[in-house]
Symmetry: C2
Subunit: 318 residues, 2 copies
Amino acid sequence: MARLSDIHDFDVALPGGGSVRARLAGRAEGPLVVVVGGISADRAPASGAARRGWWDWAVGPGAPVDAARFAVLAIDWLPEAGAGIDRPVTTQDQARAIAAALDALDRPIADAFVGASYGGCVGLAFAELFPERIGRLVAISAPHRAHPIATAWRGVQRRILELGLETGRTDEALSLARQLAMTTYRTTEELGLRFGGAPAPAAIGAPHPVCDWLIARGEAHASGADARRQIALSDSLDRHAVDPQRVTCPLTVVGFTDDRLVPIDDLRDLARRAANLCRFVEAPSVFGHDAFLKEREVVGRTLRSALSPLPACPEFAA
Amino acid sequence: MARLSDIHDFDVALPGGGSVRARLAGRAEGPLVVVVGGISADRAPASGAARRGWWDWAVGPGAPVDAARFAVLAIDWLPEAGAGIDRPVTTQDQARAIAAALDALDRPIADAFVGASYGGCVGLAFAELFPERIGRLVAISAPHRAHPIATAWRGVQRRILELGLETGRTDEALSLARQLAMTTYRTTEELGLRFGGAPAPAAIGAPHPVCDWLIARGEAHASGADARRQIALSDSLDRHAVDPQRVTCPLTVVGFTDDRLVPIDDLRDLARRAANLCRFVEAPSVFGHDAFLKEREVVGRTLRSALSPLPACPEFAA
């Protein structure tokens, strides 16, 4: 995917104290699209010169979120890494931070807001808090509130991280929490397809391939991660609550039927109750909650369609 | 449920060293039924004078496994609690221990074998190892081999327990591992019904009801539990492998469609490939993998039906 050449990073002081680090990329004078993702995502959905973006196929020049046409705004989630975390953060806090970034750019309105997973929850919170500042919202695999099974799994992850912090084994706890998270991001079907063919390791002590994969993913994630920040973001998902009827901007809801963390019934409920539903896209995926990262066809098509009515230049903006 | 009055506990020395603690209950001269359950179960499925059994509604005088008609044999799973665990245990090891208990009773044949979860896996291993020593097998929520998603979840539990052992925080690790296990035993639907109605706890620091429930269940399980023994039993499930075609005794397979640990497709595969399938019972349950403990109607009916052809007295045994 084409890389961005036009990247503008900036810090925005927040009214409540602290600051948020933001990035404006793409065509600065084009319609503005906010793009935010899961709790592990950052201000770089598109690839820059130095690093691959977390959603590089979806955001960039010529991509479904076309950086040759749009100004793309993204932020690093609160709380700031390494900062003293004196209280958990809410999806409303993140929405206010994005509003502050828009203020700093002197762009009062997000012409479109594209959020996946946690980013979609923040989009719903933004739409509820600032109905006059959002043109349209695409919320992918993002409910108006957390399902108890998701809270159950995330709660165990938080308590693993707390045990790691208390015992000085933070890296192992970060890895273990990530391993558990991976089991909730993916589906039974995918793991069956990947690991079900091999014979059971009968020999005592022989490794289980699925465990080796999880451990590798866990360790890759753990290096350099901030356990307290992860606890805060995880908790934020479980306190998330938006009233669908107060989401009044044009809304596209995208859901995947085998998502263990966000049961499709909850997205059907969101779509049914939203004040101004444009489109509800429901698709199967073996990738479950990670489908927004993997299902390029359906996600890409939906993004292009949702953004296509956006004027190419600001003089045509509504 | 009526209590047992006739209980005979005994220890059986095993050929490979060590011993297994077993219980014969019910009508000693009746047809013999082996009854074994999950990795947390023990030799007491039926209630005795001192303690409630883990399957008290299913096993006892007048119950579906009728202790007024049958001799009920059960064991404490290997490895013995507190014993030095020098190597993991297999479902075949458990099957051999049951065979040794039968030898000790001078009852060469289990007229029926009823196993749920791990106990059903042991039943399949017993049927494969000792086809001439089993009259019929009822295997509930028990596959011929573990699905990778189940191995993934159990592997994380084992690594939590190992971290607890290494840091001297074993009780907390036992609780955390149990909390994770509970999320896999139950369904999204059940947790939604139990905990989905309450508003999201917006107040920072306010507890999540589903987490409080998990923590209470985890702590109740942790007290007195043996982490090393749990690791061995958990690992045993992930090394379990039986060839369905070598299970030649009459077989009843019972499965629940929303069981996250034992996907129903795996039980359909077992039923399709078994050499001598009597009956395949597939039912829905909000209790998922725990359905064998909760679904009294379908499980009780299936047990009565599977055991009804058993002669009431040994003189009529085949």
